[in-house]
């Protein structure tokens, strides 16, 4: 019960009619506002109010109305086994609770109202995550209700050290935001800093986790994300265990994880459940793909425009034959193809699945044989575009993949002007920016620059699990030891 000094006009009266009048005024434009005047078994007059569609009606019937009317002798005796209840003294409190999906009971002669937690809004069933599919990971994804998401996390970590802090963000939306971390592992300075940043947000409403990220990230202007957004509970829990914090945003199926480094976006949950040699190969493949995505089209342009002498003669001849009919310089050719590829991708994302197939067919024809036969682009360019597209899809994180895809356009321009020199300097610029970035005080380029060899066992490759005794240093965790000798026998 709150003990704030009640305001004169909005105090709860002991007459039901006056309270009802006040509420009716407040909820004049809310047709879903419902009130039930009842007489309890003990003969008291009572009033139950709620907003129709965001409450659990069955629960109200079974656990509030039925006991009141037929079972309990007096209201003070009533025990509601499931719901959390609290008392309110002011109409404002009642109003706020009603909007949050609670129901409120007034009793004749009492100057307070009882609030019942009876939320029952529409919910989506737990499904497999759409954007991060894995082969061997769990097939449970987060949903739009924060409470459910926290429940899933608790199933993984039923431990007292799993701390959940809650905040309210948004002046109108009042979105509930929860920060989760392992209290004995995470660095308290990082948590405090994050808390500050969350409380600093004073906007209308947070509709998606991605919006919150933009307010609390270190470098929102960068092309690369510094906080991970994930739909996967298992990924989130793995990150908590590595010493990171997680933020679960109500109304969004994405959770935010930080502090991240660039290389940590190349990890996937699958890596830890496939055999470690194969997982290591996949890791190397991803870094290679990242590099290819950024440089391959620009390398093509540089090699054709400036440095054809680096190509062996046979290859040069076959490229020359395929470019014979093409009337454009390589940069136009490349820009046309890369832009049309991006358009196909963007169209594919927004279209519903049945029409989506059309895009595949049309795109396949345009990017494929037709463009070559018409003499608009060369065969080699088609190969370059295809390899670039495939490589960009290998990068497991969507945000990093999109960033890399965008970087290749300035790289193509710089290669047109400066050739290979442009590519080398372009890479220097990209990495100088990455190295200058920080995620919550931790260098974003870690562990490759600054070099931290101890973190390399879970970066370029994945060492066997029993070799990884320590949490990554880039999370700056307080408790660094992750496990003790966990494997018996001579492999240790």
């Amino acid at each position: 019960m709150k003990h704030s000094t009640p305001h004169e006009e909005h105090i709860i009266h002991n007459e039901l009619a006056k309270n009802l009048d006040q509420l009716k005024q407040l909820f004049y434009y809310a047709p879903d506002f419902q009130f039930k005047e009842i007489t309890t078994k003990s003969g008291d007059k009572a009033l139950l109010v709620y907003l129709e569609h965001i409450v659990d009606k069955v629960a109200i019937n079974e656990h509030i109305l039925k006991p009141l009317m037929y079972a309990v002798e007096s209201i003070d005796e009533m025990h509601i086994p499931i719901f959390k209840t609290e008392n309110a003294l002011q109409i404002e409190e009642v109003e706020k609770s009603l909007y949050a999906g609670k129901s409120v009971l007034f009793v004749e002669g009492k100057t307070f109202a009882t609030i019942f937690d009876t939320q029952g809004w529409p919910q989506r069933a737990i499904k497999e995550p759409q954007t991060e599919s894995t082969l061997k990971g769990a097939h449970q994804g987060f949903v739009e209700t924060a409470g459910q998401n926290i429940a899933i996390v608790r199933r993984y970590l039923p431990h007292r050290e799993l701390t959940v802090k809650s905040y309210e963000v948004g002046l109108r939306g009042k979105t509930k935001v929860f920060m989760l971390f392992l209290k004995d592992v995470v660095n308290p300075e990082i948590v405090a800093e994050m808390e500050d940043r969350i409380q600093q947000v004073k906007t209308d409403a947070i509709i998606n986790a991605g919006q919150l990220v933009e307010y609390i990230e270190d470098h929102p202007n960068s092309l690369f994300p510094q906080l991970l957004q994930t739909e996967r509970p298992d990924a989130l829990v793995a990150n908590l265990l590595q010493g990171r914090f997680a933020i679960i945003v109500d109304l969004s199926p994405y959770a935010i994880v930080g502090p991240m480094t660039l290389t940590s976006f190349f990890q996937s949950v699958d890596d830890y459940s496939t055999r470690w040699v194969i997982a290591s190969f996949a890791r190397l493949l991803r870094f290679f793909a990242f590099f290819i995505t950024i440089t391959l089209p620009s390398f093509y342009i540089a090699a054709i425009t400036f440095h054809y002498e680096i190509l062996p003669l046979d290859l040069l001849i076959s490229i020359g034959v395929s470019r014979e009919k093409v009337p454009f310089p390589p940069i136009i050719e490349a820009i046309v193809m890369e832009i049309s590829l991006e358009m196909i991708r963007e169209a594919g994302v927004r279209l519903p699945a049945p029409i989506g197939q059309t895009i595949g067919v049309v795109g396949g024809i345009v990017i494929g044989q037709a463009a070559v036969q018409a003499g608009v682009v060369s065969n080699i360019m088609v190969i370059v575009v295809a390899i670039t597209a495939i490589s960009s899809f290998i990068i497991p994180n969507l945000d990093v993949s999109l960033g890399a895809r965008l970087i290749r356009f300035p790289m193509m321009l710089i290669a047109t002007i400066y050739g290979l020199v442009g590519i080398a300097v372009g890479l220097m610029i990209v990495f100088a920016n990455i190295i200058n970035m920080e995620s919550l005080g931790e260098p974003y380029g870690s562990p490759f620059s600054p070099i931290k060899f101890i973190d390399w066992k879970d970066t370029w490759v994945r060492f066997p699990l029993w070799k990884m005794d320590q949490r990554p240093t880039s999370t700056n965790s307080v408790q660094t030891m992750r496990q003790r000798t966990s494997r018996k026998g001579r492999d240790r």
């Binding site: 400066y418 200058n436 620059s449 070099i451």
Partner: protein, 367 residues
């Protein structure tokens, strides 16, 4: 508390900062320069040169150990008083700026000569200024992180060089020491500018987290530099005769020309493009030390305004001078003969001066 504790370096950052300052444009011309002076005994010159450089570096660490929280810019006024101290600071700022400018201009010249013969030097220079600005505007820690990135992404180059070793003539090394000791010493002196960069320790020492590792760091940096220089000299001498080497301007690139892969001919072109990172690192390193000095000289907190001035200064040079091969030779001569002895002789003299200073002070205090 020292004012440099916010920007601390680990051992590996310290090592790579020095190493990346040492290795630069010099590597490309090194075999020719050494061969011109020491002939087929060039490899001995390299060993001798590294030994000299290492000795001076250790002396530098000895100087810095007396004032672990200070850079050279702080130490000089302490011993020489305000005006003389400022004069010496000015000399160091000028020297590092000159070194940086030389590295920058040489990089542009080489790029123009080998990679982009039709582009104007100002266009290339403008491109190079972007990464230089992005790194030099940061502190020591971020710069050394950047050098670590450069180190990791160019480490394959050393192994590629080994691939050129086919068809070698071991007889090229014989006879050993036929011309006496003088050419060897001459060769060592010519090799020394390629080792320059060790004097960076004069400014990096207070940033190092664990001061006890300083000597170890200098040792590792010199080992890395020795490794690449010695390997280059040996490979070049195995492959070519002395007459051939002295004909080439950049023997290292000629060595790379020998390598032909099934998918890339003329490996030296992509190699040189990526090697630009290393050459620009030298420029960035010296530039930062110079800017750092300027900020301290004028008692400003930020060095970024000076960075802009330096960049404009460079662009003006590029506008006004039309580079040719003759310029490169002139610069080479200046480096070999004149100002090069600042990093070499200055620390030794400083150490002697400090010893005398302490001695006199002790005499004064204990009558």
């Amino acid at each position: 508390m020292s004012k440099y504790t916010t920007n601390q370096l680990t051992l590996s950052q310290f090592v790579i900062f020095i190493y990346k300052t040492q290795i630069g444009v010099g590597v490309l011309t090194l075999p020719r320069l050494v061969s011109e002076n020491a002939n087929r005994d060039g490899w001995i010159s390299v060993i001798l040169g590294i030994a000299i450089s290492l000795t001076v570096s250790i002396l530098i660490i000895k100087i810095m150990e007396k004032h672990p929280e200070m850079t050279l810019y702080d130490i000089l006024p302490l011993y020489f008083g305000k005006w003389l101290g400022r004069f010496f600071i000015f000399i160091w700022i000028a020297w590092t700026l000159a070194a940086s400018t030389t590295a920058f201009l040489a990089t542009i010249f080489i790029t123009q000569m080998w990679l982009l013969p039709k582009s104007s030097s100002i266009l290339i220079g403008a491109l190079f200024l972007v990464p230089i600005y992005l790194t030099a505007k940061e502190g020591v820690r971020n710069i050394s992180s950047f050098f670590q990135f450069v180190f990791l992404s160019t480490i394959w180059m050393e192994f590629t060089l080994l691939y050129s070793g086919g068809g070698s003539q071991i007889l090229n090394f014989l006879p050993i020491g036929a011309d006496g000791i003088t050419p060897i010493i001459k060769g060592a002196l010519v090799f020394l500018p390629s080792c320059f960069g060790f004097e960076i320790a004069l400014f990096l020492y207070p940033f190092l987290k664990n001061k006890k590792q300083a000597i170890k760091g200098v040792l590792i940096a010199h080992a890395l530099t020795f490794n690449i220089s010695f390997m280059l000299i040996v490979l070049c001498f195995l492959k070519y005769s002395q007459e051939e080497i002295q004909l080439f301007v950049f023997p290292t690139l000629n060595l790379l020309k020998e390598i032909q892969l099934p998918f890339i001919e003329r490996l030296e072109i992509p190699f040189l493009a990526i090697y630009l990172m290393v050459m620009l690192s030298t420029a960035i390193s010296y530039l930062y030390i110079s800017l750092f000095g300027m900020a301290q000289f004028t008692q400003k907190r930020s060095h970024i305004p000076f960075l802009w001035i330096a960049m404009v200064f460079w662009l003006i040079i590029l506008f006004s001078v039309n580079f040719s091969f003759r310029h490169l030779q002139q610069v080479e001569r200046i480096w070999q003969k004149n100002i090069v002895f600042i990093p070499l002789v200055f620390p030794i003299l400083l150490l002697i001066y400090i010893k005398i200073h302490h001695f006199v002070q002790q005499r004064r205090h204990t009558p």
